[in-house]
Symmetry: C2
Subunit: 181 residues, 2 copies
DNA sequence: CTTACCATGTAAGGCGTTACATGATTCA
DNA sequence: TGAATCATGTAACGCCTTACATGGTAAG
């Protein structure tokens, strides 16, 4: 049980807090986890079926309407599996920034092109930072409502700090590129 | 020519500065690029053959010894391809930190486990930061030797700033987890 | 009534790692 | 002479995204 598939662990992690449909799982990822993790439907739905087969989750229909939603829940077995994975050491943290790649080889095209990439990067970060700050506000206020919120807050604050560092670096980098050239 | 394979661009980028063997390309990646990019031999060697087939690079043997090294060089065509890619907007910057995933779901195992993961993360960063600071020193001094050094310095300073932010966050996160619990 | 979002899934294909296989060279 | 490093490659496999396919529901 050494190398757990990450997609399984993410799904079980989300299900450990509440029952969800595949669609809702994707939504959670695209909002709460998007700053450090992502997955597509093409990996979520098959993973869900697989988790049910292995007895780590259950699937039931919301019998209410004509169009039934498929609601997934974690089992005890699934919760143990998740807990086990949580205690295991981190296997890999990975950062792949194409922006830095283009910058590293920037000498081939010159400063102007590099500055452009930095500005695009800067804009993207500036656009996303407010969402993180908003989430931080909400989580700080609701810290006592749910013990899980403390852990969510941690990851949000990671984002805020790194994004802050990114913006400082952008300024520095632009300056370095534009001086005496 | 919209979505260039990144492995091709990295290799061409490295070859744009100097002729290299496949082995040396891997070495460059593991030292200079490791903070924001990585690749294995299993992707480098096939990519090199492919670049030669497409006329973006050339391959020659260092005829000196019995055991001939295979030295790759960029062609004009390859340099144009690289330049083209450099001007294209960044397609995707991606961060996948398993540490943050384990932290996000940390409520399931509790604070002690989460603190462990933060400490491991912290140690890893503290171990790597000196290399970045060393590289920064060297690059600052040799800025006039090679116009490419300015671009290398940029990426090194990105690493230094983000690693600094990580360490600050680690302290904050540990504090938050250990207080009134 | 139509646009946007909710909702579930599959198939093909891309991309890359891991593990394996092989052998030379260098340095202690 | 043995270990570490240099050096090149292949094969199997895993994992994931993209694109496709389909239809329900809610709001304006």
């Amino acid at each position: 049980m050494a190398n757990e598939k990450k997609i399984d662990c993410v799904i079980l992690g989300l299900l450990s807090h509440e029952e969800l449909t595949g669609y809702e799982i994707k939504k959670r990822m695209d909002t709460m986890l998007k700053y450090f993790w992502s997955a597509s439907y093409g990996s979520i739905y098959p993973a869900l079926s697989d988790l049910v087969h292995r007895g780590l989750a259950t699937k039931r229909e919301s019998g209410e309407n004509k169009r039934n939603k498929l609601i997934y829940a974690i089992t005890d077995h699934g919760r143990n599996y998740l807990k086990e994975w949580l205690t295991l050491p981190v296997y890999k943290d990975e950062l792949r920034y194409e922006t830095l790649l283009k910058l590293f080889f920037g000498n081939e095209q010159g400063a102007e092109c590099a500055v452009h990439h930095i500005e695009s990067f800067e804009e993207k970060i500036e656009k996303e930072l407010p969402y993180l700050l908003g989430a931080q506000e909400i989580l700080k206020k609701s810290l006592n409502d749910d013990t899980a919120h403390k852990y969510y807050l941690l990851t949000v604050e990671f984002g805020i700090r790194t994004y802050g560092a990114y913006l400082e670096w952008c300024k520095e980098a632009r300056t370095l590129l534009m001086e005496n050239d």
